[in-house]
Amino acid sequence: MFAKIILPPATALKNKTGSWRVKKRPKFLHQNCNGCRQCYLLCPEGCISGSKKEYNVDYDYCKGCGICADICPVKDIIMEEE
């Protein structure tokens, strides 16, 4: 007997973890971005996308941890109230 828990891939996409956010979310200002990609690389949720100097966050999955705003060397990402 088996429990039916061997699943197709990427089922985590159905779980919109953006609802876990409390109070603050990152805002990408797109003013001083130097394209270092640190926010994209360090996002634990993998929900930052973009290229060159245009990065954006998917609020459906962003848990509001603030790592992107903290790591941004040019302070181009800020945490704002929801």
């Binding site: 088996f2 828990i5 061997i6 699943l7 197709p8």
Partner: protein, 392 residues
Amino acid sequence: MKEFLEGAAAIARTVSVCRPAVIAAYPITPQTHIVEELSSLIANGKLKAEFINVESEHSAASCVLGASATGVRVYSSTSSQGLLLMTEVLFNAAGMRLPVVMCCVNRAVSAPINIWNDQQDIMVVRDAGIVLLFAETIQEACDLHIQAFKIAEDPNIMLPCIVNIDGFILSHGYEPVEIPQRELVDKFLPPYNPPYKLDVDNPLTFGPLVGPEWYLETRYAIQETLNNEVKQKIVEVADEFTKIFGRKAFGLYEEYKTDDAETIFVTLGSISGVVKEVVDELRKQNEKVGLLRIISYRPFPTEISKILLKAKRIIVLEKCISLGSKGPVFEDIVSCLYLDAYSNGNKLPFVNNYICGLGGRDVSKEEIIEAYKDKDVFKFIGVKKENLGSFI
């Protein structure tokens, strides 16, 4: 053809004829030379398999778990502290329903550091959903390995299986052993054909996060599988093994002179050999005694209550203890006897629990006979009073 072989070497050669594709192990104490032998078989080109040398037992178990998920036959071997480090992964292997086959060379657990034989280590993973088989002799250890692959890899079972052998007594002991012929093993053990596997063309998720609405069913499914499919399969596989290899495989348990026995010893593993001699000796003195040796400890063969309820006294002799309670085998025996007697109105026998041989302490025939005559309910056999006292 029989050869005079050391236990570890005999097991390694038996595993090699079972054609595992991936073997992973961490080669340091308390590892035994089962994997050392296997790695040299691979290095010498006698076995075509991937040998992964890892940095810990946790990684060894993780490697074979991952390899098993890709749909190949896997094997590892460990012992005492190594098994404890693997514990987390072994629960995962059972929960992910992956048929990892392993040998656990039973040894004591620290502290104090002790590498000698008892069966305490395996009791830590007793509740994980793993099939646990115990061998009495080196030959049986080899035979159980072949059966273990067949049981674990059955598409209706898909659970890990650990063959337990007593450290040093079987792993380092020598015995005339017949290594099964490759042709016979191929006939008995078909190539592993999993019902599901990791495949880039058809991706799957193993061991996902599940909430309270799913977890309970995973445990229910393992429990049902162990108590139905696995028990049935162990008996079937033992019958088939006996037919193909011409050597008796006992299945769930072995009975020795229990037919008219008034007292029945219950044991696991190699100590059964000593107890068989004790039974013969006591029989010469007209004492009606017998032995019931449990081979499959998980799933627990509750069927044995039919045999044990005919006796007046049961002596559970075990090399492990659940500290603060009693021996784990004793607890299993008492619960199965009680439930059977309660539903069928039988009279319960007097059940005794003797703990012996911890940390490799030798257990003599005389000590067992003395315990048989003393009729204590619970005791440690061979406690040296002079070794006890205040802390220094």
